[in-house]
Symmetry: C2
Subunit: 355 residues, 2 copies
DNA sequence: CCCGTCGATGTAATCGATTCCACGAGCGCT
DNA sequence: AGCGCTCGTGGAATCGATTACATCGACGGG
């Protein structure tokens, strides 16, 4: 592979001049420029990004460590991250942690060794020493979706509280009273938050969330199946199962179906994280949709800000409820089954939260 | 960030010794080794992969350019590729071409500039000059799933012919005679091959594939919708629509449903590329499943072979039919609705292919 | 006409590793 | 005792770029 020296020789100039042409530095004669360009062309020369990075201490590369590539939510995130990064002149290297802290560390270490300019992470756990060190050491970093509290790292995420409240209103309005949740890992912020938001919203409606109705999942389909089976085995099974992510919802659907039961007639189902496939499942699944694309773009912008020396702020965007049919027919003969809707039912007045 | 010099200073040895310790070269005294290791530890030193790559001319990195990250088939492929690569000591950088040749070139160029050790590609088109040049220039390369003929590059793919024949047998057995296909882009091998395989299999059963029943798609959901609408507008619409990939099948499902028609009662649907979600759609979709994980692993092994100077062979694995309910109830009261089944119906004898 | 300035260019240092080569110490063998 | 090995080590070249600094010629103003 041709190097800058070969180009210099071919064009009859020094490597400095070649470099200047390539980085369009102003003081190069038109003559030299054309000769260099011709040499570049004829040799098919391409600058070696490795050498360039070594010298400039910049890789123009962002690392993105996500918890699970097979989860459509994260692939959409990855896609929007790459798009925005490309628009800003960065490449992205994706690391898939598969919800495993050790794999997450592997990728973080790998990315750090490659001297990426900045790191975007959706942490699988409460924070490995490695990541905390990196943050402290000043690696430009931004958390996306999930985060680790107490580190001075901006967080780009969506707030599901309002949407969860809407969901509970929806469930309440349909007459459901015994509701259960398949929680995510307690080590993740999203795992804890979603349970909290759900519990609070239920409280407004005078409903409780007994321990027996809180199943511990790990954001993977299999755990959704297992937890749901547990629910169905209860003396008094819940009327609704709310899965804290889309894959667990799928597992839940499997479990329900394996018993010969039907959604929503025998048990209702809702999920956090909407995905295109939910429109096509049987029945279409009511879900809380995050503005995934926006999150990815905002995260990249925040990271680019940090890298380029600007502040780089946290961003929180609202999620919204998308009502479909998995909790029961929402409203008689709804003409548009796949759109966000405001809850039609108010909580009992005495429980209504002030303001 | 600490460099090898800092470590050398801290340990009171030369950089050469530090390097030897790090690459566990035999001739280092036990004493020096422990001092170096202590220095590494106390400084939190990590070798700079950029510098190392420049010197050794190896990045231990594979590039993977896929046509569409949002397609579950490719994300599964990406996942298995990364896993196998990791097991073999390589990292993977994924580039998403989004079925756009220009984006594909962007990523290939980017990866080449980064001096990746080898390239795994599932080409979106017939082959850009860029990629052909790279292949000719001797970049270790392997095609996965799709390929470009005439370049001396190994191909790892699955052969759908037998499975397509099984599908046609299945359709024929259910009484379907007017069958249509939503084809992929003619520029891709898979786009062309699947149509060919389908046509040949139909022929064995004495069925034709008229032009009106061949719709031109682009492997994206939207095109599936559009083509299906065209089919439904025909004076004599087909009884079956076979989509050449999963996303187009989804689009087709949308289109059918938008007309108030039902699958499989009004029109049957089948797809190439099975994905977990097909179990959960309404109805579950009959599909041809590729051994995706195996393909990814085999591709990485072939590429590693090439990189490390071994031959690196092409691999072709069989796909298989997974019968579900989208083409009609397959067999009365099938106890196991989600498994591969041999076709129960033979073609009319006079058309049966010899051997 | 001379000198300062500016534009174009080349020389060489540098980034952080790896690795060839030389050197000195220690040891065994004759 | 002297020769030749091996072993451990350091010095320095090298990979392919960028860039500070030096140089040189041309040009314009006083």
């Amino acid at each position: 592979m041709a190097s800058i020296k070969d180009v210099a020789a071919e064009a009859g100039v020094s490597v400095a001049t070649v470099s200047r042409v390539l980085n369009d530095h102003p003081s190069v004669s038109a003559d030299a420029r054309t000769r260099v360009l011709a040499a570049v062309e004829s040799l098919g020369y391409r600058p070696n990004a490795v050498a360039r990075s070594l010298r400039t201490d910049q890789t123009h590369t962002l690392g993105l460590v996500i918890s699970d590539v097979m989860n459509p939510y994260f692939t959409e995130l990855a896609r929007s991250v790459e798009e925005e990064a490309r628009a800003l002149g960065y490449s992205v290297i994706i690391g898939n942690a598969d919800e495993r802290p050790d794999l997450q560390d592997h990728h973080v270490r790998n990315l750090l060794d490659r001297r990426i300019d900045g790191l975007l992470v959706s942490p699988t756990d409460g924070g490995s020493p490695l990541m905390l060190d990196a943050a402290r050491a000043g690696t430009p970093m931004v958390f996306v979706d999930r985060w680790i509290p107490g580190v001075g790292v901006p967080v780009v995420r969506s707030d599901g509280r309002a949407a969860v409240r809407d969901l509970v209103a929806h469930l309440y309005g349909l007459g459901h009273r015994r509701v259960a949740i398949i929680a995510g890992p307690a080590a993740t912020t999203t795992g804890r938050e979603r349970v909290e938001a759900f519990r609070e919203a239920l409280q407004e409606y005078g409903l409780g969330l007994p321990d027996a109705y809180i199943g511990q999942g790990d954001f993977q389909a299999e755990s959704g199946r297992r937890v749901t089976e547990g629910f169905l085995d209860l003396a008094e099974p819940p009327e609704v199962v709310f899965a804290a992510d889309n894959l667990m919802a799928l597992g839940a659907l499997d479990a329900v179906r394996a018993r010969g039961l039907r959604v929503p007639d025998d048990i209702a189902l809702a999920a956090f994280d909407d995905i295109p496939w939910f429109v096509h499942t049987d029945p279409p699944i009511t879900a809380i949709a995050q503005p995934t694309g926006e999150l990815g773009r905002a995260a990249v912008r925040a990271l680019a800000d940090r890298i380029e020396g600007r502040p780089g702020e946290s961003v929180t965007l609202p999620a919204r409820l998308v009502v479909r049919r998995s909790c029961g027919e929402p409203y008689p003969a709804s003409p548009e089954p796949d759109s966000a809707q405001a809850p039609a039912v108010q909580p009992p007045a005495e429980n209504r939260s002030h303001r």
